[in-house]
């Protein structure tokens, strides 16, 4: 999972940065035929953006949770396939029909004021995501110094491990922020060039690990020892793989990208990201920790930092991979978080907004809790942002059928569609209150956050229909 993760934060007043694969124009108009791109523009982009430094965390976290071989090999296959099908048959058709950014489409439905609220949520979540990338990148600094100089975090770490760790995070985060201020294009290009090499580094880590373990029986290696507590089920793995990028597919953030596609079939390009980054790379990363558990007696509940594991497997090339993978994905994330903050506070300069975003990211990165609970975090991320996709699906496919206005805010000129706000917040708040991350859980049971994006999105769509009808159907959904 990455962060470009596809969000091209911003709307109207704020300009936008794009992946090298797509253009940055047409923010407030349909993309014209002349600007459309063939599928090749999207395959490389998806492959690069979904092979990130955080993949080195997710594979080992599955090991920590006792995921079995069938869940990892078959469950991830099914989950990623469902994600690709969602991109292909839901996101891409809407993108190719509307040809608008998510933000402009939302503005038409929800009003400009409410899009600003969405931007704030988006910006903050971006900061935490970039923070976890800073954490992962900082683990690659440790092996360059004598052992013990920088105390590395483990899965159970929530607080900074010491002054050297804090300095590492600040230096890496400050460098990322500086580049976000000055040289986004360069980093975007480095990310583009890195993609094939980076994937091979993941693969190399796994191959070397198999060599060290003296076996090629991946199924046997992925099978946890008897008696291992399984904290994540087959269904949990399927749903995690499907919804770890929920904000991008059912949440429709990738409208901003796929609006440039000539045909909805460009949605198949997401397969490059899912099956290289979220299938092969996750399993490769899981094998790294399995080696340390089997051969070096590491407690899987504590784990081992990615920097040490990758350095042990493939040396400096792997450390460079971690830093570049973190950098190329965290940097645009910081930039986009800055744009999102600027959308909320238009008086803030671009420099000030990016520095603010960078500071929040660094603060988040210093605390390993975000990276070490990455599975929970991406579930929360999807639960909060995906439901807006339900609004867009209703507006695009169902509005005429159920007798409500399409693009109601655009028609009424309203800046704040209350039906949208309620339909978005109610399912999200109820959903999050069922998770372990909620300080208050009145339900008496807990639901993993990655179970929630789909039900919250469906609930959001249904509520939006009901509230819009209640507010007057075609007459006045926007207040």
């Amino acid at each position: 999972m990455t962060a470009k993760d596809h969000e091209d934060a911003g709307h109207g007043m704020i300009d936008e940065v794009e992946s090298p694969a797509v253009g940055s124009e047409y923010e407030r108009e349909r993309v014209p035929e002349s600007a459309l791109k063939g599928p090749s523009a999207f395959w490389g982009m998806y492959a690069g953006e979904h092979t990130a430094g955080t993949e080195f965390m997710i594979g080992p976290l599955f090991v920590k949770w006792g995921a079995d071989a069938f869940s990892l090999i078959v469950g991830l296959l099914i989950g990623n396939l469902l994600a690709v099908l969602t991109w292909r048959y839901l996101t891409a058709p809407i993108a190719c029909s509307e040809r608008l950014t998510l933000y402009y489409k939302m503005e038409k439905i929800a009003g400009r004021g409410l899009v600003t609220v969405y931007n704030l949520a988006n910006g903050l979540l971006f900061c935490f995501l970039a923070g976890s990338m800073i954490t992962v990148s900082a683990t690659a600094v440790g092996p360059f110094f004598p052992e013990g100089t920088i105390a590395m975090p483990t899965f159970s770490s929530t607080m900074p491990t010491g002054p050297a760790w804090i300095i590492s995070c600040i230096v890496i985060g400050a460098a990322m922020t500086f580049v976000a201020l000055k040289g986004y294009d360069v980093v975007a290009l480095v990310g583009h060039y890195s993609a094939p090499w980076m994937f091979l580094i993941f693969l190399a880590c796994a191959i070397v690990t198999l060599g060290k373990l003296g076996t090629t029986d991946v199924w046997a290696l992925l099978t946890p020892p008897p008696g291992t507590a399984q904290s994540i089920s087959f269904l949990g793995i399927v749903l995690f793989a499907w919804f770890c990028n929920a904000a991008m597919h059912i949440g429709m953030a990738d409208l901003s990208v796929l609006r440039f596609a000539k045909k909805p079939s460009a949605g198949w390009a997401s397969a490059a990201g899912m099956f290289l980054g979220h299938y092969v790379a996750w399993i490769c990363a899981a094998l790294l920790l399995i080696y340390w558990v089997k051969e070096k007696g590491v407690n899987p509940q504590e784990g081992k930092d990615p920097g040490t594991m990758v350095n042990d497997a493939v040396g400096w090339a792997g450390l460079i991979c971690i830093i570049i993978a973190g950098w190329t994905t965290a940097n645009p994330t910081i930039y986009r978080a800055g744009l999102a903050f600027q959308g909320v506070l238009p008086a803030l300069s671009r420099t000030g907004a990016t520095l603010l975003a960078g500071a929040v990211c660094i603060a988040a990165g210093i605390f390993p809790a975000f990276a070490m609970r990455l599975l929970d975090f991406v579930g929360v991320y999807g639960t909060i942002l995906a439901p807006v996709g339900g609004l867009i699906v209703v507006d695009h496919f169902l509005a005429d059928l159920v007798g409500i206005d399409r693009d109601p805010a655009a028609k009424s000129g309203a800046s704040f569609n209350m039906a949208v706000l309620v339909a978005w917040l109610v399912p999200v708040l109820i959903g999050l209150s069922m998770t372990a991350v909620s300080p208050v859980n009145p339900w008496g049971f807990e639901v993993p956050p990655w179970y929630l994006p789909l039900p919250c999105t469906i609930a959001c769509g249904i509520l939006y229909i009901l509230l819009s009808k209640f507010a007057g159907g075609r007459a006045a959904a926007a207040a």
Binding site: W197, L200, I207, G211
Partner: protein, 63 residues
């Protein structure tokens, strides 16, 4: 991955890039089959990494 059309460096960069990718993945395979020590694998991979980032900008064109 698309290829640049005009640069005279394109063809040599393509060969260097392909060699760098091979140097990234083949040594681990050799290690898996016991044909290479891990230290040599790491050394070749590091050199290949440098070569890749030298060659890739000349080879891979951003559409």
């Amino acid at each position: 991955m698309t290829t640049s059309e005009k640069s005279p460096y394109h063809t040599p960069a393509k060969f260097v890039g392909l060699a760098a990718l091979a140097g990234t993945i083949l040594p681990p395979v050799a290690f898996l089959f016991g044909a290479m020590s891990l230290d040599i694998v790491k050394g070749i991979m590091f050199v290949s990494t440098i070569l890749w980032f030298v060659a890739a900008p000349w080879w891979m064109k951003v559409e």
